[in-house]
């Protein structure tokens, strides 16, 4: 099974600043992958590189086993919706669909028409007068109707109100389930991803802090609270992700593959948001354990 996106030492430099540097990761195929990280972590740059919008300064990237935007066929296999969900302001909605039909041999006109009707877009309306949510839906429709194998969505819901957000994600999930498309969507808000992703990558300062199946990640993390204790005294199998102490009490977030047996601890499961925030917090010195990248074998 090839990876949807595989990068080795990938970097992108703008004049003096590095937007992405030394990024090595593998994003599995056939999943809905959430790419989470704080602003400036390099999510947009990574997706731009994967879509072939940007050229890397160093390192390599392959998308579905080929260099990004290598040719018309490769371009057709990848759908990309950029952060601001662009559309030609002076072109009508129907013109955008014609654009898609003209430029993509694999265009699914029926799907595009159905989606536009479902969303309630007026084909005669100019894209410039659409609301942010409608424009995002139009951009998603264009990307979906290409019938891509991989869909890259860069903060697609960032500018939408909660209702439009739910609509957008629901539409996305329906289409993805129907055609078994791989999806990578980025966000700096975990709550957006919680409902849709089955795989999670936390990217902080170009580095993968943690990556894995959502279920496995949740199962392998625990919150421990109990009498104050030095985290150094924990058993070898328990790696501390986050710790906080009061005079009497210690609260730890640990990663462990084994059950916590110490009766001194009150053990509670961890939610996705809590988990992601712990990994995103730069104050937390995450144990040097290679993230399990990965393509499930």
């Amino acid at each position: 099974m090839t990876a949807a996106i595989e990068t080795i030492g990938l970097g992108k430099q703008y004049r003096r600043t590095w937007a992405l540097r030394g990024c090595t990761l593998a994003i599995p195929e056939g999943r809905v992958v959430g790419l989470v990280g704080p602003n400036g972590a390099g999510k947009t740059t990574l997706l731009g590189l994967a879509a072939g919008m940007l050229a890397p300064t160093c390192g390599t990237i392959s998308v579905l086993g080929e260099p990004p935007a290598a040719g018309p066929a490769q371009l057709g296999r990848v759908g990309y919706v950029a952060q601001d969900t662009p559309a030609y302001a002076r072109m009508r909605v129907a013109d955008h669909l014609r654009l898609g039909a003209w430029l993509n041999p694999g265009w699914d006109g029926e799907l595009a028409g159905r989606r536009v009707a479902q969303i309630g877009l007026d084909p005669k309306q100019r894209a410039g007068s659409l609301s942010g949510g409608q424009r995002a839906q139009l951009a998603l429709t264009l990307a979906l109707a290409k019938r891509p194998e991989l869909l890259l969505l860069d903060e697609p819901v960032a500018s939408l109100d909660p209702l439009a957000r739910r609509e957008f994600l629901r539409g996305l999930m329906e289409a993805v389930a129907e055609h078994n498309t791989s999806v990578v969507l980025s966000s700096h808000l975990v709550t957006d991803l919680e409902r849709v992703c089955d795989y999670l990558i936390v990217l902080v300062a170009s580095q993968v802090r943690i990556a894995g199946e959502v279920g496995e990640l949740l199962a392998s993390h625990r919150r421990l609270s109990g009498p104050r204790r030095d985290p150094g005294t924990l058993p070898a199998g328990q790696a501390v992700v986050e710790e906080s102490h009061t005079d009497k009490q210690s609260t730890l977030l640990v990663r462990t593959d084994e059950p916590v047996l110490d009766p001194a601890w009150t053990v509670t499961p961890v939610g996705m948001e809590e988990l992601v925030l712990a990994y995103m917090n730069p104050a937390n010195d995450i144990p040097a354990r290679r993230p399990r990248l990965g393509v499930a074998s």
Binding site: A51, A69, N104, P105
Partner: protein
């Protein structure tokens, strides 16, 4: 891709077609009047020196109606401005606006490579730009043909009757408008790709194009072929003139036409002595004010003192070689810019 290009370009194309049609209607409505003035002037059957007087009265008649003279100037102005307008409004936004509005992410992520996207856009819009400009030029050349014929008959240069090598006419007739249009368009596209913002790209396009259009007739075009040189006797027709300056009378001679070489492009002219060396002061024998104030006497005095007029020029027969050379130069520049755009679009990505 051609259909998309048409869809996105049709507003501009329709505007250009409307402008062409309006220009054509204006010229078609006024052209016959100019032609009838020419027919009535008797220029078509004249011979030798008589033509000059006929041409002079023809020009005076054209001038007197006012409207024809104005149309002539406006027509030339439109042809000269068209490439710049095309470079600004068709060239500069082509890539810059896509980058500025983020629609490049839409355009370049369909199943069409950037190379093909750019190739189709450049071809369709670039060829339209060239056709529009050359169309304007051909229509105006048809309209102004009587004036051109009058100039060709050796008429003295006036405000309206000017040789084909005159900057305004050389740059607006013939095939040079094709080269200007292609170059200005390519320049706009390149500036947009480099600067990535439409308005600054437009400003740069205008500045560079204007600079080249000024530099071309001043410093580049005269050197397409080595200039011919000749030395002739000074005569009133060659505008001999003395001027009194501090520390002696300075002598300048400005030739506007060359006997026996109608339509030649005179690059420089000035007085030389019998040995062929340039002189800059009026010979002492000719400085008396009674001589200086009478042009034929002054010329005679200069001749008797051995002063003649040296002229370097391009003969009229080089008009078409120069047209081809200039057009080829601009087309080559345009191709170089286009080649750079392709490389940049693929290498730098967005």
């Amino acid at each position: 891709m051609i259909r998309l290009t048409w869809l996105q370009f049709r507003t501009q194309a329709v505007t250009a077609a409307a402008a062409l049609a309006a220009f054509a209607a204006l010229l078609a409505a006024t052209g016959p009047h100019l032609a009838s003035l020419y027919a009535a002037s008797g220029l078509s059957g004249c011979h030798g020196g008589g033509c000059q007087n006929l041409a002079g009265s023809f020009e005076a008649q054209v001038q007197s109606t006012g409207i024809d003279a104005a149309l002539y100037v406006i027509g030339l102005g439109i042809i000269l401005l068209a490439p710049a307008v095309i470079g600004l409004f068709w060239g500069a936004p082509l890539i810059a606006r896509e980058l500025e509005t983020g629609t490049s992410a839409l355009a370049w992520n369909q199943s069409v490579t950037r190379t093909r996207w750019l190739a189709v856009k450049l071809t369709v819009i670039g060829l339209t730009a060239m056709a529009v400009t050359e169309g304007l030029s051909l229509m105006q050349a048809w309209w102004a043909a009587p004036l051109g014929r009058a100039a060709g008959l050796g008429a003295p240069a006036g405000a309206l009757i000017q040789g084909r090598f005159t900057q305004l006419i050389f740059a607006s007739h013939g095939i040079t408008p094709l080269g200007y249009a292609a170059f200005a368009f390519a320049l706009g596209v390149t500036a947009g790709a480099l600067i990535r913002r439409t308005i600054p790209a437009m400003a740069v396009t205008l500045a560079v194009f204007a600079a080249l259009q000024i530099a071309m007739p001043l410093w580049i075009r005269p050197h397409f072929a080595p200039a011919d040189r000749t030395v002739i006797a000074t005569s009133p027709g060659n505008e001999a003139g003395g001027a009194t300056g501090p520390g002696g009378d300075t002598l300048t001679l400005v030739a506007t036409s060359l006997p026996g070489q109608p339509g030649a492009w005179i690059l420089s002219s000035g007085p030389v002595n019998a040995a062929g060396q340039p002189v800059s002061t009026v010979p002492a024998a000719c400085t008396a004010s009674s001589i200086e104030n009478n042009l034929p006497d002054f010329d005679g005095c200069l001749t008797s003192q051995g002063v003649r007029e040296a002229i370097s020029y391009q003969p009229a027969s080089r008009y078409w070689p120069f047209q081809w050379a200039e057009t080829a130069l601009y087309l080559a520049l345009a191709l170089a810019l286009v080649g750079y755009c392709f490389r940049r679009l693929n290498r730098r990505r967005s």
